[in-house]
Amino acid sequence: MKTIDEIQNEIIGDFEMYSDWADKYEYIIDMGKELKPISGALKIEDNIIKGCQSRVWLIADYENGKLNFQADSDAIITKGLVGMLTKVLSGHSPKEIAESNLFFMEKIGLQEHLSPTRANGLLAMIKQMKTYGLAYMTKEKMI
């Protein structure tokens, strides 16, 4: 299993071949199209992270000491970006997730998508993923 930083570096490597913004976005849009949608039954209020414009759904499952995330969005670019985030953080321990430093968005020149003015729910999603990490860390200590 690769570490969070190794997966981030892989994505950065993927993006290095794209010099044009349009190619980058084609890649993200493809990621969005490939991401398995969350079923309608799970798109409930409890799982929604409300951005001002695009909505993001996030579900976390804890199994054998690892957290797995499923995510979806009604906007395809946001969906591609949440797909990248779940790819980076899924399958790691709560501690690794809570303490992760997400640097790949900035390195591939997409940091503007993390700006609060974008209001796409991404910042809130990252916060939520880390909160899940912290919550399960605490739970693990209690067991």
Binding site: W21, A22, Q53, S54, D74, A75, I76, T78
Partner: protein, 417 residues
């Protein structure tokens, strides 16, 4: 320029290039592309005259106003009060006392909502608004209705984004204390029949506040002819500085209302046992105002007057018609707000593509439009959509820019489908 209609361009009533030359920001590049700024409904860019006036004031004339006997204070006060007179004449208010400087439309509406509420609203009274109001003309009324036990009533919108006067009439009741209505919808572009709405409100014995945020730089406004009780607008949507706005109110009504905020400038005498308040317009201008902004706003108004509202309206109409025509050729486009009477706002969706995605692709092409609910969530709920893409025009926009938008949208659709 390939597809722009030359006949339309030739009939533009003023030289757009000359106008553009006055806006330094129009020369910048965004994402390595020339900026195409089509988000004027949110805020307009500033001409040199506004930037320079503000800059000159801070560099050469600045001090606080209304209190100092020294030279600079007098200069500042004169410039500030000149702005008031300029606006008095522009909207044909009876006296300068009827022109209150505010931070913007939202501040103006809140001023009236709170003070009118305190003075007049009682349990069971009604405030009537429309389904196309900006959140700024919904939320203040919700808050004061809750405080005083009043009821907020809403005239629904029709499919084409208009309101029916018949429905409006049926919602006016003996309990309707005040009607608050927008002149032009910021998300749909609809120009409401405001004169009829004002007359019907008065026939019902109700007061009326007009939200003119989108109208002030599009339509000639004569408050005496309209006979509205209150009218509010912002400076930043009329090529002026942010944090500036005007609240117009009939003198007798403003006189009768209690002050909104307490502080400096709005008082006559302060004693611990009793404070008396200043006369209009100062009663509603507590604290040191945005002096430089208001002085800059005067330059914005002069700029608009120099071009002329009829010319601005004609230009806006040409851009609107051309935009509808060009965008109408995109497969799967749906327009929201198709009133016959419409200002330069085009709200649309294409197929099932999320407006956010379109906004991101256009941004990469240097094109600034607005995506989302445009602070009118009830309008989006009415159409059962998450939001729209909105292009809105200013006096510096060109037919070529509409072509850039059209081509950008075609490219976005290709990428996102």
């Amino acid at each position: 320029m390939n597809s722009a209609n030359n006949d339309i361009i030739q009939s533009i009533p003023f030289d757009v290039d000359k106008i553009r030359a006055q806006f330094p920001i129009l020369n910048i590049q965004v994402n390595n592309k020339p900026l195409v700024y089509l988000d004027n409904g949110a805020s307009t860019q500033k001409p040199n005259s506004v930037i320079e006036t503000t800059n000159f004031y801070y560099s050469n004339q600045y001090s606080n106003i209304h209190r100092g006997v020294h030279k600079l204070s007098q200069i500042g006060t004169d410039l500030y009060e000149k702005t008031r007179l300029n606006f008095q004449h522009f909207i044909n208010a009876t006296t300068p006392s009827e022109i209150i400087f505010t931070k913007g439309t939202t501040h103006g509406i809140n001023t009236i909502a709170y003070t009118y509420g305190r003075k007049y609203l009682q349990k069971g009274d009604e405030i009537l608004i429309s389904g196309m109001e900006h959140h700024s003309n919904i939320v203040p009324w919700q808050i004061v209705c809750e405080i005083y036990g009043a009821i907020l009533k809403v005239v629904p919108i029709e499919q084409n984004g208009t309101i029916s006067l018949e429905k409006f009439k049926t919602l006016l009741s003996p309990k309707t204390k005040l009607v608050a209505m927008t002149y032009i919808s910021n998300s749909l572009g609809t120009i409401n029949p405001i004169k009829e709405i004002i007359d019907l409100s008065h026939q019902n014995g109700s007061h009326i506040l007009v939200d003119a945020a989108q109208a002030i730089h599009h339509l000639p406004i004569d408050v005496q002819e309209l006979d509205c009780d209150f009218l509010v607008f912002s400076g930043h949507k009329m090529y002026g500085p942010t944090g500036t706005g005007i609240l117009y109110g009939k003198e007798a009504l403003l006189d009768a209302l209690p002050p909104f905020e307490g502080g400096g400038d709005m008082i006559k005498e302060v004693r611990f046992d009793k404070t008396t308040f200043n006369d209009l317009p100062f009663k509603f201008e507590a604290g040191t105002p945005n002096i430089a902004g208001i002085i800059g706003l005067n330059a914005a108004l002069d700029f608009i007057k120099e071009i002329g509202l009829p010319q601005i309206m004609a230009h806006d109409k040409q851009l609107l018609d051309y935009c509808h025509q060009q965008l109408g050729e995109i497969d799967g486009i749906r327009f929201f707000g198709t009133s016959q009477e419409k200002a330069g706002v085009v709200s649309f969706l294409i197929n099932e593509i999320h407006p956010y995605d379109i906004g991101v692709i256009l941004d990469n092409l240097g094109i600034a439009i607005r995506t989302g609910h445009h602070c009118t969530q009830p309008v989006m709920d009415f159409y059962n959509i998450p939001g729209t893409c909105r292009a809105s025009f200013g006096i510096y926009n060109t037919m070529e820019e509409i072509d850039v938008l059209t081509n950008g949208l075609k490219r976005a659709v290709k990428m996102l489908s």
